[in-house]
Symmetry: C2
Subunit: 187 residues, 2 copies
């Protein structure tokens, strides 16, 4: 056994999630999170930039996966369809619905966390727009397509969380895209 317990980062994430659910985000101090993980407050801030970030560690991975998937989508398809193909590929991140529900419940209960989630989505949109530009899509079409794609994602994710039937994330993405197309066509 090494000098320290392994996976300090993961322990901090888990401790944070537990405490945010047990007492609420506001009533939890960073020192408490660190203590539950067997670490100190100072170490928490070496792994996470702030108290919010500990809930959003996966967003880089998601962003990278989306960009990678977009790079492999058929270039013959319309930009919006390329983008939705990328969203489909991201469905692998959305399989544990219970965990997603718990996490989302914490986030929606606290504006500071919603803010962080929104800027992560904005970062995703910017990265997708950049990827579209690399494929030759001009502005403002690239940014608008990316924004539209993220809007589809947001709606689909919300439906997936609230879904009482057991529909797949991928299906909800497609339904939401169809809705968007109908809306834009004046439906």
């Amino acid at each position: 056994m090494g000098r320290w317990q392994p996976d300090a980062r993961g322990r901090l994430q888990q401790a944070a999630m537990e405490l945010y659910r047990e007492r609420g985000y506001d009533q939890t101090t960073v020192a408490e999170i660190a203590a539950r993980a067997g670490l100190t407050e100072r170490t928490f801030f070496r792994y996470f930039a702030d108290k919010r970030e500990v809930l959003f560690a996966g967003s880089n991975v998601l962003e990278d996966a989306l960009v990678a998937a977009l790079a492999e989508a058929p270039e013959s398809a319309a930009p919006i369809d390329q983008l939705v193909a990328a969203l489909e590929a991201a469905a692998v991140f959305f399989t544990d619905r219970d965990y997603s529900r718990q996490r989302q419940a914490v986030i929606t209960a606290h504006p500071e966390l919603q803010e962080r989630e929104l800027i992560k989505l904005a970062s995703v949109a910017a990265a997708l727009a950049e990827a579209l530009r690399r494929r030759g899509v001009q502005e403002p079409a690239a940014s608008l397509t990316a924004e539209a794609g993220v809007a589809v994602f947001k709606i689909a994710f919300g439906r997936w969380i609230d879904d009482t039937a057991d529909r797949e994330f991928t299906d909800l993405i497609h339904e939401s895209l169809a809705d968007l197309k109908a809306i834009a066509a004046g439906g």
Copy 2:
């Protein structure tokens, strides 16, 4: 003359804008803002919930105007066109391009301020979705239309800020909507 200088709120807003531009957001303390406005830190927090909010005082007014304009849009039009009619009506808020540019420069330079801007836009989207629902638009079309409308707004605003020609905000809204329709149609 009354006991206090008038318009404490406005003085705080102006002092904050000045200092954020002069020294940067991070290098400005709330105590400094208050001092420049001839007040104390405690009073600052009586007018604004936090250091970020002082830059977003107008967002309620914008939101209310959008909802009101949507309520007066012809119900015969497609939802997305009703929404864009509302966005047109909001153009009155976007006439002083220099001020908007300065403010936006401060915001884009600081992630905390971007987060606040994003949650304000999310609030606008939620209010517009609610207004559409009151007009009989079902979910998820209402939310998706609202998100699409806000996306159009974001792109149009960005183009308005960057515009070197002197195009009107309203025109850019219409162009961006046309772009979105083309995108959704597979353009």
